[in-house]
Symmetry: C2
Subunit: 328 residues, 2 copies
DNA sequence: ATAAATCATGCAAGCGGTTGCACGATATCA
DNA sequence: TGATATCGTGCAACCGCTTGCATGATTTAT
């Protein structure tokens, strides 16, 4: 069937262990021998069996990226796919493979099996998996959380963008543009990044505080926006939790014939490719999801190599200013 | 370190082969023995080492999904991530893992290594990989192409939606709505699905034939649209190759103060979540990417199990009618 | 009741690599 | 020049599980 290391060894007139050493470059080998081995490998079209190699070495050469069903289905998978590709890129450069696992149905089991069945050497996890019970089964297995876990622990390794700071610069930009009644719209606000964005908003705002929770859909954002925009003292600017909220808001403005940015200014989160082509083009808090993925992967490999101390990386965000806040 | 099958065997007072048989359910075992083995497994928190299992059984329990760098970076990764999750779902139900591989830099090598190093038991490939040279190295290894390969061969297995038919129903719908000068906009038109969509357009159209090629970006679609819309006998309807084209077109209409659907009707491809929230909401040719992924995965597993004859699956598309074609 | 078939389980040889130890051949040093 | 360190390679055990063959026990057939 397949060509094995022994076939190569025989052809090169050496022992299989020598071939192994040539492949892995872990010992000194005579140039001559090395050449013969390479020649034999080439002639036989030899490809080492990664399964055997993994078994012997104890390393699978694979890292796992766990995803939440919620994220998977949600629109935010633009976020996900960008990070994923960045992760894959780093992994590839390290000679690793990436497997994805939908933690949906049985989150605990997924992670546990991946680890304990030696399928992966490390994991990138969504913040929602970080719970005491989970942490216990993970133990000192190398992992990095992509996002900020709600329940913080000093020894948890994570990478996230600074949502709080992002909301703050959004608000400050609006204030600077002369908007005074700034509202926040979108998202389940008790959890995760939304909570932090709202906190940033509250820190920075000094006019009236208006926080409009939605169920995360565009439709619900539309409903909420219509409601608040019909009020007497309606907001003259919004920070949107994500594109879905921004879209609902934009639609509400159209329906009510409210001009953007004239009567209402808008800043939204997420670097959504089409934000630039909206009408008007949207000012955004730029989230570099690819960078997030890259950093997470790098951190993970660092931990795989030497299970060194934990680390948290917080990427600060910046504003991309477009027409939706361009008044004066 | 880890608990092995021997530990379990010892604790249950049986031979490790018996434990193996209990786990794999491949032989008759006394209920009593079985119970003892299960108990031992539970007590020791035993997880079989999947690496060892794979090595012994010759099956990795993993399938690979190869992606094009182009696709990866492009906006169309919404397409990709939906398919991917559908694939993952099917794989999970079959007890398989999914690895993703970016074929970008060295497409040939990626696929070849995945196969020959026994990393995967089957592959899902993008149509661009299907070239004679590639096919030769793949041999009878189980694979399914997600999309229609440009160079067709009878024994190639693929799953795709019917792009030609999709374009036809788009054109017919526009005709029915009374549009007569229908144009096609977007995409590199010599290759892949765009070629087929254009063909469908040409089949169905009976007024003047206008096909506007773009480099695939929104900006270039905007440019092309502006140009053609300024002409004397400008089109009164467009079939768009994708959302990026649709966006550029929409922007051009706004700039020129052309009303949609009054003066220009628009149908676009891709089921892009926000198409519904555009201004106006866009009529689309619905591409069920999740279904595409699901079918591809099912077909692949079928081929992995019995390397049976090849099969092509063509999913027909349907129209979701919204305001962008709603005149009369 | 005896021969034949079936069943439950053990034994041991793989699967295809990696790696610690050993050993002869060179190279280095005093 | 002899003693010692270093180098290049082979031997064989091992990674943890699967599976064909063998064997004794139990059931079925005659």
């Amino acid at each position: 069937m397949g060509v094995t290391i022994h076939d190569v060894a025989e052809r090169a007139g050496v022992n299989s262990s020598t071939v192994s050493r040539v492949i892995n470059g872990k010992a000194s080998i005579t140039p001559d021998t090395k050449e013969r081995v390479y020649a034999a490998m080439r002639e036989l079209d030899y490809h080492p069996n990664s399964l055997a190699r993994s078994l012997a070495s104890g390393l699978s050469g694979v890292i796992g990226v766990v995803v939440d069903a919620r994220d998977a289905e949600a629109f935010s998978n633009v976020f996900f796919s960008r990070s994923l590709f960045a992760i894959e890129k780093v992994a590839q450069s390290e000679g690793y493979q990436v497997i994805i696992a939908n933690g949906a149905q049985s989150r605990g089991m997924t992670v546990e099996n991946l680890m304990k069945e030696h399928k992966v050497d490390g994991l990138i996890l969504p913040p929602t998996t970080v719970k005491p019970s989970m942490m216990e089964t993970i133990g000192d297995f190398p992992y990095v959380v992509l996002g900020t876990p709600d329940t913080l622990r000093g020894d948890t390794c994570w990478v996230d963008n600074n949502n709080e700071q992002g909301a703050e610069i959004a608000v400050k930009h609006l204030q600077q543009k002369g908007y005074t009644r700034i509202a926040y719209i979108g998202g389940y606000q008790k959890r995760g990044f939304t909570k932090r964005r709202v906190r940033g908003y509250l820190n920075a705002v000094n006019g009236p505080e208006t926080v409009l929770a939605t169920d995360g859909t565009t439709d619900d954002a539309l409903r909420a926006a219509l409601e608040v925009l019909r009020e007497q003292d309606r907001p003259d600017a919004f920070v949107c939790n994500d594109n879905l909220a921004a879209f609902g808001l934009l639609k509400a403005c159209r329906e009510l014939n409210i001009s953007v940015p004239g009567q209402v200014g808008i800043v939204t989160f997420d670097n959504y490719p089409l934000a630039e082509y909206m009408d008007p083009p949207l000012t955004i808090v730029d989230i570099d999801t690819a960078m997030l993925g890259e950093q997470a992967a790098r951190l993970l490999f660092q931990r795989i190599e030497n299970r060194s101390g934990s680390q948290q990386i917080m990427l600060s965000t910046s504003l991309i200013i477009r027409a939706s806040t361009d008044r004066n």
